[in-house]
Amino acid sequence: MTIQHHPDDDLLLAHAAGRLAGGPAVLIASHVELCAHCQRRTTELETIGGALLEELSPEALAPEALARTLAAIDAAPVADAVVSKRARQAPRRRPALPDGVAWPRALQHCSATPWRWLGPGMRWSRVTLPHDAAANVFLLRIGAGKQLPEHTHSDCELTQVLCGTFHDGRALFGPGDFDEADRSFHHQPTVQPGGDCICLASVSGRVLFKGVIARTLGALVGM
């Protein structure tokens, strides 16, 4: 898989700095886990974070802080607790993905609804983040040759392609590719022949569809 489209520096920086909201953070994480190039960029950014940490003027801790921390270390047999906690976890609800398409590691703690009908050849699944109930994250599954209604975004839409390819009028996007779209761009992604295209998407602000029917549809599914 050759990844052609990557997140911009400012998004990757916000992620490395731990400053993205839940939705955008899982989108970036789902890209970085596949992309050696962005792993390297993230490492660079974290190095800058570490160097800047050294630069900060220290804030004194309470006099007993070290003693307390050592006591906390002695108190907790962590390893076992973590294992049993993992083992306890019930399997999460997830829509079926085609053979050979992996569920992103970034979503391992998220559940998602079964595929729901969105239009001819179009299905979607709402993804729920355990740590951010307000995040607007979903999977879109669009059949080959289908076109999403033309739309723009009141704020920002991030897309990570899990499988298949689409062309959005500007460029071709394939598995592993990442796309960021904002209000400056009206786009109408068309899925290329060869199979369903499944994308993970995070939207902040509303998606603004162009036609009345498309708008109604968008409102129905809460996009």
């Binding site: 731990g18 660079e44 190095t47 570490g50 800047l52 804030e59 801790l61 070290l66 355990p130 740590h131």
Partner: protein
């Protein structure tokens, strides 16, 4: 987890009260004002390999106040920053076996520990209903570079730090604010009196500049 911390056979096995004279940290070192990155690195390795508590204490002394400062700069109240800084140091001890000097400097490693702890904490706060799930690790990737990359990382870190010093004041500022000030980019834009797009392009310029300094022109 435990096996990685076991002491070599010629040392007493790790106990709660490791004898102080076995520590690699001398009193002189732990008192000196600013440890070198080699010292920090040795301490982290001593903590990782042998559960050296004096090495831990020396790392604590250097990093806990900086982690606290980091948290307060991002808007955390003083008492909470104190608590989280201590928790970050507990995490540092627990994650010590995963510290790999070939992969990152100590400060980079501790930065990621503090960052993930902060993200986790606020996610837990944001959604109490799912607390049981939320003390999972943050979704931030725990990156494992390929072995051939690991060789380059330490060298690259030193170069990156050098390169950072060569950035223009504007470019360095926008990166510093991104990591260590409370505001998101939109607010940084207001603060610096420049449009949001300019913040984004300044970030991009700063990163491109760093990469040019490191690699020559974009590959």
């Amino acid at each position: 987890m435990n096996t990685a911390r076991q002491s070599p056979a010629f040392l007493p096995s790790r106990t709660k009260s490791r004898a102080p004279w076995l520590s690699i940290v001398t009193l002189h070192q732990s008192r000196s004002a600013m440890p070198t990155s080699e010292e920090l690195n040795e301490w982290a390795q001593a903590m990782a390999r042998a559960g050296d508590r004096q090495a831990f204490a020396a790392l604590f002394k250097h990093f806990a106040p900086r982690v606290k400062s980091y948290l307060m700069r991002l808007g955390t109240s003083e008492p909470l920053a104190e608590e989280l800084a201590q928790e970050a140091m507990v995490n540092m001890w627990r994650k010590a076996p995963t510290f790999d000097a070939g992969r990152a400097s100590v400060s980079t490693w501790i930065f990621t520990i503090a960052r993930n702890l902060r993200v986790d904490h606020f996610r837990r706060q944001g959604n109490r209903a799912v607390e049981a799930d939320a003390d999972e690790e943050a979704d931030l990737p725990d990156l494992l570079p390929q072995p051939d990359e690991q060789l380059h990382i330490r060298q690259r870190e030193a170069e990156l730090r050098q390169a950072f010093l060569q950035l223009s004041a504007d470019q360095a500022q926008v990166l510093r604010l991104s990591f260590y000030e409370e505001q998101p980019h939109s607010q940084i834009a207001r603060e610096l009196g420049i449009p949001l797009g300019t913040v984004k392009s300044r970030v991009r310029l700063a990163m491109n500049h760093l990469r040019r300094l490191l690699d020559g022109p974009e590959r």
